[in-house]
């Protein structure tokens, strides 16, 4: 394909200058008689010319020898150009393909990273929400020694007065939070809270046991005292409030 193209091109472009054109110029002041530009008046002449041309041109062959060199050089560079273009095209397609696949791998990597971050975010959000659940907040506040406010006041901005009965907080007995903490899996915060709740439960049980022992001992003591008094009537029994 490229061969035919290369052969035809010089024939077309070179002819005006190096082919018949050069020979015609040497023939003298004649109107140009090339292909389609030939005039109708000169029609009989061209028929005879092919025969006379070799005869007159026989002595002037030299100019023709210069042409092929230039034509060959051009043909060679066109081939190279095409080959280079082909190679460049192929190479760029290759590079593009490599990049797309490379991009795909990067995409997979980034997806994995995104997923990991999402999951980390989920875990942290879970911890955060666990901490901000009202009952957990209340337990932590109680652990810090905070107590519910007894009274609150309102500052009336129009008059600048304080209404209500605000009083400084007083120490209160530990307020037991009766709403259980959320039982969750997969949250460190929840695990810790569960441990803490267990500890508190155990402490409470121990304390209750100790209190019971204490009460039993106290109950025994007055009984012994009463005996020491030597009386026969038992001491008056008092009911503990709340019973």
């Amino acid at each position: 394909m490229s061969g035919t193209g290369l052969q035809r091109r010089p024939a077309r472009t070179a002819s005006p200058r190096a082919g018949i054109g050069a020979w015609a110029a040497r023939r003298g002041p004649r109107p140009p008689v090339e292909g389609s530009a030939a005039r109708a008046l000169d029609a009989p002449r061209p028929a005879g010319e092919p025969r006379t041309a070799p005869r007159t041109g026989g002595s002037t062959r030299a100019p023709l020898s210069v042409v092929p060199a230039r034509a060959r050089r051009r043909r060679f560079s066109t081939v190279v150009l095409s080959l280079v273009a082909l190679v460049v095209a192929l190479a760029s397609i290759l590079v593009l393909n490599i990049q797309i696949s490379g991009g795909q791998y990067r995409l997979v990597e980034l997806r994995a990273q995104e997923q990991a971050l999402t999951q980390q975010n989920e875990a942290l959000t879970q911890d955060l929400e666990f901490y901000s659940a009202p009952q957990n907040l209340a337990v932590m506040a109680a652990d810090l020694g905070m107590v519910p406010a007894q009274g609150s006041g309102t500052v009336d901005l129009t008059t600048g007065t304080v209404e209500g009965d605000p009083a400084p907080a007083e120490e209160q007995k530990d307020q037991e939070i009766l709403v259980d903490h959320p039982h969750q899996t997969g949250s460190e915060a929840a695990d810790r809270a569960a441990d803490r709740a267990e500890d508190r439960e155990r402490e409470k049980a121990e304390k209750a046991e100790k209190d019971a022992e204490e009460r039993a001992r106290q109950a025994e003591a007055p009984a012994a005292d009463a005996e020491l008094d030597g009386g026969s009537l038992p001491a008056p029994q008092q009911r503990t409030p709340g019973e």
Partner: protein, 650 residues
Amino acid sequence: MARARSTTTGEDPGSFVLGRNHVGVALLLALLLVLAVRLVWVQGFDAAGRAEAAAAERSRTETVPALRGEIRDTDGNVLARTLQRYDVTVDQSMVREFDRPKADGTTETVTPTQAVYQLADALELEDEDVKKALDGDKPFEYVARGVTPEQWNKVREFGLPYVYGQPASDRIYPNGPVAGSVVGFMGGDDEALGGIEQTQDGLLRGTDGQRTYEISADGVRIPVAPTEETPVQDGSSVQLSIDSDVQFAAQQAVAERVEELDAEWGTAVVMRIEDGAVLALADSSTVDPNDIGAAAPEDLGARAVTQAVEPGSTQKILTAAAAVEEGIATPETEITVPPFLEIDGQKITDSFDHGQQDRTFAGIIADSMNTGTVLVGSKLSPQQRHDWMSRFGVGEATGIELPGESTGILTGPDQWDVRQQYTVLFGQGVAQTPLRTATVFQAIGNGGVQVEPRVVESVVAPDGTVTPAERPEGERVVSEETAEQVLDMMEVTVTQGGAKDAAVEGYRVGGKTGTSEAPSPEGGYDGYTTSFVGVAPVEDPQYLVAVTLQRPQGDVRTIGASSTFSKIMGQVLRHYDVPPSTTDPVQIPLRTDVEPTPEQTTPEQTSPEEPEPQETAAQEPEQSTPAGAPAPDPVGAPAPSPSRPAEPGD
């Protein structure tokens, strides 16, 4: 061709050589023929099948599960959320020793026993359980369900060829038991089983999508290959009017009181009066939706919605509203109340002993007198009594977006027996949910317009568009004037009557106590249902709190709910920054036969209950139809006139 040329030029031409040459050519031709036949077969006869098989080999179809919507409280705090989890499964038939490549290029042999230990450590399971899961020859068995991504990553790094991870999801309820029964919960197979999860399942669920794509041999997606995608439709989020802080405060207060009185259960409803939005539906004990297995069956629902109880004297507000609206009485109407009332052969008594008294209607309501209420209420025909209860919605569900709502029991007047037609006037012989009782007071607080309660505030689509939930139209039940007068009576009940514990410092509060006998499952009655429903601030009611306690133990005068009401209402008013009341409470004389002011305050302070911060409320156990005759007036006989200050002289 090259070979052929070299043989002809390099070797001597001979028959043997020529023969070999031909054999070579023939062989090549034969091979070409085989290839050609194969080509024709593959491309010509079996083209579609081959291409399909190849495509099937390359392509992967996966379901893209729709993300279930969140449930949020009114401030946007998440009450229910779906998290990514994995189910770890095993192909037991593949469990055997294998060589695991290490990072430095060598391999190590991993025995099943080692795998068990590694799995157990990573999944925080017992070695025994993991071993049990891996033993056998089933192609599919769960090792662990719902493990965190972190744990699954650890397992994946072990590279066990017979252990797989399936993406799953887990529903997490960050607040746990706070509003647990309202939010609801999910069953094992993503089935919504309770609360909002159940009723709003259609909105929350969404539609699963599907994705088909092609992968290369190493499992990476081929970028330019065709993909097919059915887009996933994530579920919408549902925002509730529940306020977590109020909900917690209410739950804590009710739980404290229930523990104190050893009651069966207690509930509290907190409502915004203007639009019937439910801010809290508290139960003394509530399911933790994270762990429904541990919950008692009766804790699974919101009792204020599922349990119908006899309301008791809180229903006197309904009777009062009807009487005022029908023009039978005003708060100032003077009525002479006998020590007890004989009507149609039925004896109606009060929770305290008293002689004949001249009282105002407000005084009757304030001290919760059954006798006076029946005197006024009996001027309504039984049909009217029934219709008024109907108008307030008694006997109908409120339509709140929670499952298992009880409609209560309101029978037709023709089915009432002789006694019931009077007892319904003070809330016995009729049953309704605590939420329904709350809506009666909501109507009074809202100038006579009842708005059915709702708990869903808005729906948030996955793209963020917020659609406010449709609220039911308010319905005028009584006129504004009537509502105002009844509200005055409610305030007098707190300031001068039997519910002084219900007062909230700095605010004008109005409300009504209620005590009724609780029907026993074995028939008859055992124990009481005590309640207090009130609104604040009275000059412009904004919030309503209704507390109900079921079967509290102890003396009937000390088992009321007014102190709990006061605690919750105080929290609510402060939480929403309601400015303290600046106007003085209304004064309506309760009695017209004695000097009101000095006598009503002085004896109150010397009454036996005062020193202790207990309920001195008029806890009046009304007798009710079936059990009324054998066990009348549980308080009156053993403890004559203990709680009423003004009565000793009567």
